[in-house]
């Protein structure tokens, strides 16, 4: 940070930053609307590479969302495939009132709900119940009545070796750890961190509250971090 920025009072600095952020977001929204129009035009012209690009970007997310409704990998794939058919069949009627991405996700959600039928969805109630595992085992903290550092680290985390962070094996550990998470946590971390959706997009795609999204993300990330810690420490 420059010395000049330091000299600004904190509140002013925050205001400057948020104004800048706002205009950046606006630009991004405008640009993506223009991109959407180009994509729609190309699809209508039968451009297969553009379709392939869309599939590359969203198919995995679609399957992840479907899995929270149907609980079966093959059926989730099916629902995602049906969604692409519906997208192609409806593309000429796409009016750009929402982004193309949101439109595709909405089609998927409606189909997955129908397919899920009466089977009760695992989100969000049972997803939040019955899982009060702490982020870190409680014995790694000092007791609350410790005279010096109540609830401070008794066994602090040890820094991970940087050279090993680049290995393919670490990525495999992350993949395994995510696969072992409960469905709802898997969906949230999968969409937010793996596929890079915004928190708002995850909330809309999974039809859960912002609070639930945050809790599920927290549990998921905490568990994956722990799995990595176990891997590095042993």
């Amino acid at each position: 940070m420059s010395a000049a920025a330091f000299a600004l009072p904190a509140t002013e600095m925050a205001a400057t930053r948020s104004t800048r952020l706002l205009s950046l977001t606006k630009c991004a929204a405008n640009r993506s609307r223009a991109d959407d129009r180009a994509v729609v035009a190309a699809l209508c012209n039968g451009d297969e590479r553009v379709f392939e690009g869309l599939v590359e970007r969203y198919h995995r997310s679609l399957v992840r969302i479907a899995l929270t409704h149907v609980h079966d990998g093959a059926i989730a794939e099916d629902v995602a495939q049906e969604t692409w058919i519906a997208v192609l069949e409806g593309i000429e009627r796409f009016e750009g009132r929402s982004s193309l991405k949101t439109w595709i996700f909405t089609i998927l959600a409606n189909r997955a709900k129908t397919r899920g039928g009466r089977e009760r969805r695992q989100l969000p109630i049972s997803a939040l119940a019955g899982d009060d595992e702490p982020e870190v085992p409680l014995d790694r903290f000092l007791p609350p009545d410790d005279p010096h550092r109540p609830l401070g680290w008794a066994a602090p985390p040890r820094a991970w070796p940087e050279e090993r962070l680049l290995s393919g094996e670490v990525v495999e550990r992350v993949r395994e750890a995510i696969a072992q998470l409960p469905t709802a946590q898997q969906a949230v971390i999968g969409l937010r961190d793996v596929e890079g959706l915004s928190a708002e997009e995850v909330v809309a795609a999974l039809d859960i509250s912002a609070g639930n999204e945050r809790v599920l993300l927290h549990r998921a990330r905490s568990r994956v971090r722990r799995a990595l810690e176990e891997y590095f420490d042993h």
Partner: protein, 75 residues
Amino acid sequence: MTCRELVRLITDYLEGGLSKRDRRRFERHLRDCDGCTTYVEQMRETVRLAGVLSEDDLAPQARDELLEVFRDWKS
């Protein structure tokens, strides 16, 4: 703020969901605590590594089927 509390609030912090006051408490704690600094770094690293998974290719079968769908639609 205690270390235990920081561990609980970390996702709210990283997702920009803390109140101004809690954010200040969080950052003040971090300045004096190596253990929590490492913890936050590890959490950021975890998020980054999860993002690497998105570089996985789509299963060839899924891709082929979808391209088939596209060709049917086009014709």
